[in-house]
Symmetry: C2
Subunit: 302 residues, 2 copies
């Protein structure tokens, strides 16, 4: 077991040695202890009984932490996981001091170790924090989408939250060609989201993003845009069902998440093209929103 | 980390020491090594990208192994996991030699350790084997069912297989009163299964069990009954959609799984009662099937 060296009490040494231990994402903090492993009886592993947050880390800070924390709280309540805020804050502070200053942090909150069986015995939750460098981008200027055949089932109890039952995304990802992100429809054929980001489209007058009360993950960057940045520009944003035809006919499309910020969409493979080599965002409405985001959070500059 | 003592090479000592290590279910074999932990980067934990089988262990054998193995193969193909049969057989043999002779074995097959992100890189699968004693039974003669409000969403790609995305069952289990098993309907209101077993009902002429092509887990005991034991009795069994009203009006109902065998259902709380204190299976058709099962597999005697 390669974590053997980590299992001795590191005490105050941890700040000194952790950058080497954590930089490859193999190790992290599990309930405040440097570890690379989790119990076989953790309910996150056995049932996906848990949540995660993937957060941009910039200059030793998590710029969108309050949004992440709120979504985590909502998800924990939905899944019957008792989130201990002071513990979480302490573990997070410890990780921020130990991890490199820039990149991303993945937070995993599981229902913890319990006896076998679906019934939850209200044991302590488990808190995992891992550092990862920012993922590489196929094209820094824009993403290319491919329509997935796999469609998202409806589940109003689980819609919106970032739980650990992610076979929908795994099956959709398995369809994708190299260099493409996936566009996911629900079982009714409406546009929901991209594989790990939310979508916004501009119809010539206003911004539209799909309603996520039956499926999909309600991203924190989506929330920031809807509640703050787009209204602040004096523009309108509407949350509603989005038919594939409306998406294809949109004037502009972008995807967004809390790690990469906003990325314009170049095309939907074989169906639509919004950005050519010559028009790179010239006169695009999305440029104003990107400027606004970078003004508020400079780490999201391309 | 409490598995520290396990991580040294046990070599041929393992047979001697493992009963002590394994009987509490905290430890198991991970890819053939005695371990209590799994990597933080395992896709089973992060996405539920994996499968499990919970198997009755009797006199050092797994009586329904061929059925379990076939379901596992189907599931692995569905999830893009490369199941290495010789490896699995070797790990299983090792576990059977090390574990106590009676109880149950939980087999977890995950997509293994991979880089962060939904895309599967075809890394080696991970094989986990754990021993557990048989779970206690609230009432050895019959189970009591409670109708769950949570309904199972449809997903034809995942229906039938025993994957690790089990929040449906976790949410349904959270509704249950002490001493009750859950009866699960799908989003259309049809009966699908109990929380961790399949259901059969007798309409006075034939046995009926719900079709599972849109949701539910296709249990191996269900398969044994449908393909072998019930036809061998000269009785008819039909796999079809089952409305809740048909279920309530059934003459007899039982649940079955590969750990507990067949258990008659006493009641559906507040809606139906099939067994009273006075009629305990007297003249019930189910008794013939139970006799047939115990004849073929004596470990399933009550």
């Amino acid at each position: 077991m390669s974590s053997l060296a980590l299992s001795f009490d590191l005490g105050n040494l941890s700040c000194m040695v952790t950058p080497l231990l954590f930089i490859d994402g193999k190790s992290g903090f599990v309930d405040g202890k440097p570890e690379a492993y989790l119990s076989l009886n953790d309910r996150g592993l056995n049932y996906g009984h848990g949540l995660f947050e993937t957060m941009r880390l910039s200059a030793g800070q998590l710029p969108l932490w309050s949004y992440h924390r709120q979504r985590l709280s909502v998800g924990a309540a939905s899944l019957g996981i008792a989130l201990d805020r002071p513990r979480l804050d302490a573990y997070l502070q410890q990780a921020l001091e130990a991890f490199p200053a820039d990149g991303m942090i993945k937070l995993l909150l599981t229902a913890g170790v319990g006896p076998r069986g679906y019934r939850h015995q209200s044991q302590s939750a488990c808190y995992v924090l891992q550092y990862f460098p920012l993922p590489p981008v196929a094209d820094p200027t824009a993403v290319r989408l491919q329509l997935c055949e796999y469609t998202l089932p409806h589940n109003e109890r689980l819609a919106g939250i970032k739980h650990l039952n992610r076979l929908d995304q795994v099956l959709a990802a398995a369809e994708l060609d190299e260099g493409f992100d996936g566009l996911l429809l629900d079982v009714d054929g409406n546009v929901v989201e991209a594989l790990s980001s939310n979508v916004f489209l501009f119809d010539g007058q206003r911004w539209i993003t799909p309603v996520l009360d039956l499926c999909g993950v309600a991203g924190v960057m989506r929330r920031l845009l809807c509640e703050d940045l787009i209204p602040r520009l004096g523009q309108q944003v509407v949350i509603k069902p989005v038919a594939l035809a409306s998406f294809i006919n949109a004037r502009e499309v972008f995807v967004c998440n809390s790690v990469r910020g906003i990325q314009p969409v170049r095309e939907l493979q074989g169906r639509a093209r919004w950005l050519t080599e010559s028009n790179e965002l010239q006169g695009f409405e999305a440029e104003k929103i990107i400027d606004q985001l970078v003004h508020a959070y400079p780490c999201f500059a391309a």
